[in-house]
Amino acid sequence: MDHFSLWLAAFLTLGIISFLYKDNPWYKLTEAIFIGISAGYWVVTLYWDNFYGKFWVNKGEEPTLWIGAFFGFLMLLRLIPKVGWLSRWPLAFIVGATSGLWLMNYFASNIMVQVQATIMPLFSTGYGTGFDADFATIVANFVIFFGTLTGLVYFFFSKEHKGAFGVGAKIGIFFLMITFGASFGYTVMSRMSLLIGRIDFLFGDWLGMIQ
């Protein structure tokens, strides 16, 4: 990094950090640079990767790509109020494609796989291994089993959380809370690493205060 880019990076870094105190002109300037440059970055990337790389280069061999381009063109008709309603066609296409695609994907990876993963013997470390688990593992197995079941109970929509069902849902929300608390606590460390990186940059690369 030469001098200019180093000072530029430091200027931008401090501009963002200054937002923690309050909104100020320095932050506004940094934000404006960020928006302008990054939006430009994405237009160019989209143009070269998607339009040029995926469409323009292959349009001869793959005539079906013109269907995509046609839908894209319909999208632009929004600019003409009279035929603007045609832009709903590509939207409808996208909504249909996204729903259809993810329906089966989520079905397989979220429902089937997770249910299957939960079907485990309680007193063993794996299926078909006999009584080989220690106390902590057995407790963990029970916790996973009851936690998953009660967690599911919590999500039931068509039953009031009352009586035995309500107790199940209550336990379920407790498990969800442990999950949230634990993941929160666990992530703190990686978030700090990012700040360590920036402070290393400021005091080290920029100011040269770290030996």
């Binding site: 666990y186 460390m189 990686s190 700090m192 690493s193 700040l195 770290i210």
Partner: protein
């Protein structure tokens, strides 16, 4: 007590910054008893100081190794001298700050115990990092160790899990030569070593795919070879189910590296002055965690005090 808390209070800056942080927290705690809320900007300053101070004036905390980390340490400690260990660098530069310290510490430990190391990588970008470890850690620290006898770098081969599938049965099929095209057959370290099954231990350091998990599934488990793993913190929970059966131990994130380094520093005179990037990174981490926990406590004190106040009204 001093040894219990801190192993190096390098200079006056450390003491001042610690006084500032803990003095400030104490002041806030006293205020909290009067149920006074803390402005978020004050919290921000505390976090900044807690992270910046240990970077400027290195503060290192004594880490005591947890059992999962000791698992790897003890395995290397207890193998007879001359055992052959494979260490795979399965990470890229983005992951390196978190996991390379582990690779360095484990390699140094193994060489010091007189083991022989085969270095390799399943990641194309891992190769440069591997050379870096060799040049900056292994060679300067162990000038007496000979390449091809005590260690060798067989480099990277494309093919992800496919590579593992092959070397579990035959090394030379995948790696006929080392990274500099020296045939494996000419090296003493590879004498009588046909496949991974002839190794005494495998250590995989990484955090993505392919990585430690694939090593366990494709090599360690089927070949019944002792495995130690070092992983980025985010993926560590996914590996704990394999401990202690399929892996002898796990180093998770910077903390894992720091624990390993502190074991080395504690037990080996040679390593007393070694570079300990893991421990160094743990300084800001630990202080930041303490600050956050202190603020959780302060928040709760404020909550209970103000509830009492409201109750008496």
């Amino acid at each position: 007590m001093n040894n219990f808390l801190l192993i190096s209070l390098s200079d006056i800056g450390v003491i001042i910054s610690l006084i500032v942080i803990f003095g400030g927290l104490l002041w806030l705690f006293v205020r909290s008893i009067k149920a006074k809320e803390v402005d978020r900007r004050i919290i921000f300053i505390f976090i900044f100081v807690a992270v910046a101070a240990p970077i400027l004036f290195p503060i290192t905390f004594q880490e005591s190794a947890t059992e999962v980390v000791k698992g790897v340490y003890n395995k290397i400690e207890n193998l007879p001298a001359g055992s052959r260990i494979l260490i795979s660098f399965d990470f890229d530069p983005a992951m390196a700050p978190e996991v390379q310290p582990m690779a360095n510490a484990i390699s140094a430990h193994a060489l010091e115990k007189g083991h022989k190391i085969i270095f390799m990588s399943l990641w194309a970008t891992g190769q440069a990092l591997l050379s870096q470890t060799l040049e900056t850690v292994i060679i300067p620290q162990f000038p007496e160790k000979e390449e091809f006898v005590d260690y060798v770098n067989i480099g990277y081969k494309a093919g992800n899990e496919g590579v593992l599938n092959v070397i579990v049965a035959d090394f030379r099929q995948m790696f006929p030569t080392d990274v500099n095209s020296v045939p494996l057959d000419s090296m003493p370290i590879f004498y009588n070593l046909k496949s991974c099954k002839d190794l005494d231990m495998i250590v995989s350091i990484g955090g993505g795919k392919p990585g430690p998990k694939e090593w366990v599934l494709f090599v360690g488990d089927p070949g019944n070879i002792p495995m130690g793993v070092g992983v980025a913190a985010v993926v560590a929970p996914q590996l704990y189910p394999y401990y202690p059966k399929q892996v002898v131990g796990i180093l998770g994130g910077v903390k894992g590296a720091a624990e390993y380094e502190s074991e080395l520093v504690k037990n080996y005179q040679k390593f007393e002055d070694m570079e300990t990037p893991g421990l160094r990174m743990m300084g800001p981490q630990t202080l930041a965690h303490i600050v956050i926990m202190s603020f959780i406590i302060i928040g709760n004190v404020i909550f209970f005090r103000s509830r009492r106040k409201d109750g008496t009204k």
